[in-house]
Amino acid sequence: MTAVLPRLHGDTDTWTIGAPRLLAGLATAPVLDHRAHVTVHGQLPPTGLEHLLALLDAARLTGRGGAGFPLAAKLRGLVGRRPTVVVNGSESEPASFKDRVLLRRTPHLVLDGAIAVGDSVGARRVVVAVHDPQAAAAVRAAVAQRRDAGRVRVEIIDGGFVAGEARALVRALAGGPALPPGRHQHLTEQGVLVANAETFAQTAVLLRLGARRFAETGTTNEPGTALLTIGGAVDRPGVVEVPLGTPLGIVLQAAGAVDPHAIVAGGYHGSWLAPRADVLVSRAGLAAAGATLGAGVLYVVDGYTCALGELARVAGWLADESAGQCGPCRFGLPALAADVDALYRGDTSGLSRAVRHAGAVEGRGACKHPDGAARFVTSGLHLLREEIERHAHGGCGRPVMGRLPIGGAR
């Protein structure tokens, strides 16, 4: 299977639908230092825990790392007098770039939110964890420009896809392996609060706007904006800020989607979905369409590429990214990838095997990697059933263009 690697950008474009909040100031400046940050966003008002919780409740702010858990609930579940706050900027998802854009270009917004949260719970320290050296450098430079960042540390963590999982990350920060632990322990019960970089940036916006103004965009149940990483067969790829609830058709049109046949939504633990214009880009909207907003990834697969080959390529990557700790995942994901490969080569017996293997790995591991991979593959096989037929009868005649990225530096 030949593949053409996607063009790698040094700088990722950012654009918005509607007024920018997180991306404010970035249309004209490559990076906002502290002075520019305060000019664009204004001073950050002081806050306490009660006030912060009230704002988070009113704004129904959910996490932006993929799981969508309410930040207020994490804060309430946090035990211990001197907890640790971790900004998860690891962004191991290959198709996602939003967190790196925030950390590289508007780090003060992330720091505003993280420091405010840390101060409200009396945190011993605030750790910004990243894989990307550029992001680390940018955040360290930003920390040096501030007077309130004495307890902020920036750590570069190695590791692949599963290393970005919150519990794996915390283990790595403590000097252990970047692997999810085998026992189910809640981080908040250990006095650690981990949240995605964008979640902290949204918190900083909320603190400045207040709940009412924050909710002037978005939907009733999901106020505010979300950052998306848009890519694949589009004229205007990049990190894009949109009001929650924007119809998918508007987003695809604004992105200049070229002949969309399928959308990969959420990331590689997300779902394939048909490019219906009326699907709303929100947690609820995508869930209603049988998909997920996840980490805000929206990739367009067009009619020029072999979509089944794209799916097979990512299925192979997902298998490679298994930590290898847990038998069902370690054996099941390669089996699942082989099944998709078989379908690509026209062997339809791969379909029943794929369904069986996807079902066999769910819930049988230390983390949700097998579950996410199974979901990604089965949603793809369902959407691409006509493609599967074509391959069974001689092939679709298209090369695998590599619309879905699987690693490499950016």
Binding site: E165, V194, G365
Partner: protein
């Protein structure tokens, strides 16, 4: 009472399936498929025997009625 597994320890020895034949099956790679339902109180002895027999110490008994806590974040 539910049987819980630390998947990072399980090596697919399969003793649990031998000792709890009506409840634990093995998948095609030799790893246990644990039952969804709770065990009966009278089965506690057999369950404990399986836990003790696991060479990888991968099993434990969760004695509470609702074995998994309600959905919480990581």
């Amino acid at each position: 009472m539910k049987l819980e597994i630390d998947w990072t320890r399980c090596d697919g020895h399969g003793l649990c399936a031998v000792l709890l034949p009506g409840h634990v099956r093995l998948d095609e790679w030799g790893f246990p498929i644990l039952p969804e339902q709770e065990f009966e109180p009278g089965e506690l002895h057999a369950v404990r025997r399986a836990v003790a027999a696991c060479p990888a110490l991968a099993l434990r008994v969760n004695a509470s009625r609702s074995a998994r806590p309600a959905a919480r974040p990581a």
